[in-house]
């Protein structure tokens, strides 16, 4: 799945400016996380129309990159995330970063994972019957 990674200088108004571009272009954000240092941050976004969002942001001079991540479904219950991560650990896949959100599907939550080997991670999840988001918006249903 495509994730947008946006460079945001740590200054008043910089984050709003990015979000304003998305608002103007009618882009819906499903999930986001912000990794920050004292001088800048990286805003990571999952949106409904990633390609349109990237074009719009670039036009406004925003530094944005498209990153391939996995969005995996998990049970919205104790142990849901632990189970998911255990599968990756067993397959010796490292996690660069991750963040989770609750989608609209009943009883399911989603975790966005940036891993060091996306192919192995995908394979492991498939083998274990873990649903993954594939840019077709299934976490909305």
């Amino acid at each position: 799945m495509k994730q947008l990674s946006v460079f945001v200088e740590n200054k008043v108004g910089r984050l709003s400016a990015v979000l304003e571009v998305l608002r103007k272009n009618n882009i819906d954000i499903s999930a986001l996380s912000l990794a920050d240092t004292s001088e800048y941050g990286i805003l990571r976004l999952v949106v409904d129309k990633p390609d349109e969002a990237i074009t719009a942001l670039r036009e406004e001079g925003v530094m944005v990159k498209c990153t391939q991540v996995i969005a995996a479904a998990m049970d919205d219950a104790p142990g849901g995330l632990a189970h998911l991560l255990a599968l990756l650990t067993d397959a010796n896949v490292g996690i660069e970063y991750m963040y989770a959100f609750i989608g609209k599907a009943e009883g399911k939550a989603w975790t966005v994972l940036r891993v060091d080997d996306i192919d192995i991670a995908t394979e492991v999840f498939m083998k274990n019957g873990i649903a993954m988001h594939d840019d077709h918006d299934n976490y909305r249903k």
Binding site: Q3, S5, F7, V8, E9, R14, A35, T37, E39, Y40, I42, R44, G61, V62, M63, K65, T67, E96, Y97, R114
Partner: protein, 431 residues
């Protein structure tokens, strides 16, 4: 005066002396320095074409790059056994530049500094604390030589260790301090804090090797309770003492019996009339070990030939008011924006990201920051990789420049552009 006859020599007589010395120097260098001969030949000039200072403008220029190209001894005009000492500049672009002195050169240099010390009221009863760094840098040993020459008691503390500097100053009764102006101000503040101001016996300060302002002069004078004098020099020509302020502080007297200054238009390379502002060029007419003809200093200033109230006839130059190249002096180190550009280019791949250098002076220390616009090449979705890139830029800059800079990644297109071109350097120091 230290050498009254020379220092007050009527201009006609002085010019005759300069002419005689220039002719000899040109002849000597033509025979001994292959690069000089080559440049003379290119211009179709023979030593005998130079009949006096009226022909100075015909001679070829020399450049800092020459010193790098002929590193280390390629431009010396004396066999190495006659070289008594070498100094090297705080060179930054990989290769240092090296200069050599015969014993006579060292004696002449000491005379330059001695003239200044006498001019500002020092003699053999004084205690001269030399807090310039001792070493390849010309500051320490240059001031040391002058103080020794006038028979003063030299206190060679070298630079650093502020508390010890102040204690020495108090205990040994230093009457003169030689160091960079920013260090003088720092010492002054430390003295104030330590409540030592009233125990100081300083009367004169000889400060140079970096640009400083009149405000800074007043501040130093107030804090250290002395009179602060400006000294100018560059190692290529000699070191500190090429020119200096006398008791009237109305410009810096150039030791004209040794160095002939000219002001040129850096674009047309024509010599400008007296009083006009342009690039300062020096010809060394007494130097044996490492002489230079028409050396382009890149410093911008003007010359004043009016006789000074002190009685000295030697021309006065004003404080350099900038550079013809884009060199910055940060914490005493020469920095060229092109060096920074190279580092960014290397880290970033093929394209140099937009950048801006910001220099300021906070608490009397230069701050040095570089804003770099985030680019495709530098950006990643991962903080760790960006931090790695940042660190790589910082490390490489320190390697290349010899001083560290703060590196800040900023939004694309956030560096102000005028007519599409970003302003590369913002120097907020009020000098």
């Amino acid at each position: 005066m230290w050498q009254e006859k020379i220092e007050t020599m009527p201009r006609e007589e002085l010019e005759a002396l300069q002419s005689e010395r220039l002719k000899n120097q040109v002849k000597r260098m033509y025979e001994r320095v292959p690069l000089f001969k080559e440049r003379m030949d290119e211009k179709g000039l023979k030593p005998e074409d130079i009949r006096g200072i009226e022909d100075l403008h015909k001679l070829p220029f020399s450049y800092k790059q020459d010193l790098r190209d002929y590193y280390p001894y390629g431009l010396f005009a004396e066999p190495l056994e006659n070289i008594a000492r070498v100094h090297a500049s705080s060179g930054t672009t990989g290769k240092k530049i090296v200069v050599g002195y015969t014993q006579k050169d060292l004696d002449d240099w000491a005379d330059c500094v001695a003239r200044m010390m006498y001019a500002v009221g020092l003699d053999n009863r004084d205690f001269v604390q030399v807090s310039y760094g001792y070493g390849l840098f010309t500051g320490g040993l240059g001031a040391h030589g002058g103080a020794e020459r006038i028979g003063a008691t030299v206190i060679p503390t070298s630079s650093g260790n502020t508390a010890n500097q102040l204690q020495t100053m108090v205990d040994f009764g230093s009457t003169c301090l030689c160091c960079t102006p920013s260090y003088a101000l720092y010492l002054g503040e430390a003295a104030e804090e330590a409540g030592l101001q009233d125990q100081l016996k300083l009367k004169a300060g000889i400060f140079g090797a970096e640009p400083w302002s009149e405000d800074m002069r007043h501040e130093i004078e107030k804090k250290l309770k002395l009179k602060a004098y400006d000294i100018y020099g560059l190692s290529e020509i000699m070191g500190p003492g090429v020119s200096y302020e006398c008791e009237y502080q109305a410009g810096m007297h150039v030791c004209e019996d040794m160095f002939i200054p000219e002001i040129i238009d850096p674009d047309t390379l024509e010599v400008l009339p007296a009083g006009e502002k342009g690039e300062l060029v020096f010809t060394t007419i007494t130097k044996e070990g490492f002489p230079l003809i028409r050396y382009r200093t890149r410093d911008i200033c003007s010359l004043n030939y009016e006789k000074c109230k002190c009685g000295r006839t030697h021309v006065r130059m004003n404080k350099p008011q900038g550079r013809t190249d884009d060199m910055l002096i940060i914490r005493g180190v020469n920095v060229f924006p092109s060096q920074i550009e190279e580092v960014l280019l290397k880290v970033s791949g093929d394209i140099t990201p937009n950048y801006q250098i910001i220099v300021d002076r906070v608490n009397n220390t230069d701050t040095f920051d570089i804003n770099v616009e985030m680019s495709e090449e530098l950006f990643s979705d991962d903080i760790k990789s960006i931090e790695k890139t940042e660190k790589l830029i910082k490390d490489k800059l320190r390697d290349v420049l010899g001083i560290s800079a703060g590196v800040h990644l900023v939004n694309p297109k956030s560096i102000a552009r005028s007519e599409g071109k970003a302003k590369r350097v913002i120097d907020k120091r009020k000098l």
